[in-house]
Symmetry: C2
Subunit: 244 residues, 2 copies
Amino acid sequence: MNVEFPCDACPLRALPAFRAFSPEELAFMDRFKQGELHLEAGGAIFHENTSSPHVYTVVKGWAFRYKTLPDGRRQRVVKDLPGDLIGLQAVLHAEMAYGADSLTPVLLCVLPRTGFEELFRSHPSLAFDVTWLASNEERLLDEGLLSVGRRTALERLAFLLWNLHHRARRAGLGGDGPVPFPLTQSHVADTLGLSLVHVNKTLKRLRDSGAVSWTNGSLEVRDEQRLMELGVVSPPEEGPRPFL
Amino acid sequence: MNVEFPCDACPLRALPAFRAFSPEELAFMDRFKQGELHLEAGGAIFHENTSSPHVYTVVKGWAFRYKTLPDGRRQRVVKDLPGDLIGLQAVLHAEMAYGADSLTPVLLCVLPRTGFEELFRSHPSLAFDVTWLASNEERLLDEGLLSVGRRTALERLAFLLWNLHHRARRAGLGGDGPVPFPLTQSHVADTLGLSLVHVNKTLKRLRDSGAVSWTNGSLEVRDEQRLMELGVVSPPEEGPRPFL
DNA sequence: CGCGATTTTGAGAGCCGTCAAGATACGTGG
DNA sequence: CCACGTATCTTGACGGCTCTCAAAATCGCG
């Protein structure tokens, strides 16, 4: 296939956070993979309430899923980082109930939605991985609901920053130093169910606490203990995870 | 097996909302099924942050998943009705990040978590169903996040009542008349991210609008059009769905 | 240097939370 | 059948967190 990254050269393979494939699985995925999609920052990946012939694995960059109400109110739902699968709903339902767009330039691995039946038939272990990814996203959504429903603005913000920092690290970004953090405060507001103005004021309080510093699109955690307390974070499961 | 409902007598099979099994699938599920669990109303099904050897399909009754913060704030996450699968996370992760309890007396179909590997190996079509269920729950969570993040109290309440009414109908409850509705206002508050008092006051406004009547544990939709407008509901996908 | 996007800050309003108390419903025991 | 206790529902008063409106400051970039 004429792609920049055949699966055995996939940059995600190298990361310890992801489970290793058997040679046979790797060969299958190489056939399954249909192409690559490069997008600019701020581009649409899916529109809301449409169907898509493709499912994507994020290889590089940051993307965001969202839902909107008819009058334009927007709620961002899940942040997708390298290794995450976008658009699984397209395989199982006629339409996708969410949209997605890119925050940074992204590289997406293109998988045909029609190929999943064969994947399930011939590779149970990969089917299991698909289900793992779906279940993991459910877990993120549970946390998001808990945040928006019950945490205060300061807690929400602390939780979000900690969580994204943690996930970005696992996805191989940033080494030990600050992590690249391409969100605007408006994105954060859409994620937390807050207004832009209030995010800004809350962020000021959080900065004054000395737990984090977030400037110029990069995020540094100065006092992780304190940040976790402020965000009422419960430590997550570690260990390798799958991706497609 | 010594159970009240072998799979071919499962009361859910009779409902048009669920997809039919092949005889072979049915035979497999009959072997897979490990037993039945009857619980009183208000009983715990799972505790938060524990592991479970079982996964359950709700056959009769209503159950609720929830998450809590250390200081006791609680957010209810997904309502589980007949046909829904509870505890899939137990198959894929070491611990479940949510708890679940029953609202009414429930009958649960018990599936061993260790059996899912074989299910994926021998029955790709059922594995697909498992993934469908996971993806469907993600869809419910997306809607929940949109509600709690962006809808006003009145909109949230209208949306919730419409949604539960719709799902209860599909699960075969209530015929054309009022639907049994075993929630307390406190449950609703925990679901919507509101306080009990505010739910009560909002409910009064909603009742005054004439769209719904909710008394004595039963819910009647008087003006569906109006209720959908108030809740900013987008019509859902119809058609048969799977269950295990 | 100038323009748009983003961030910051202030003022005022309103939705919703907390506190408190009473009313109603329901199951239990006398 | 009535008394009583508990759970649930209802209502009012008050306060605060967060929203909206508005405008200025800063940043990124051509």
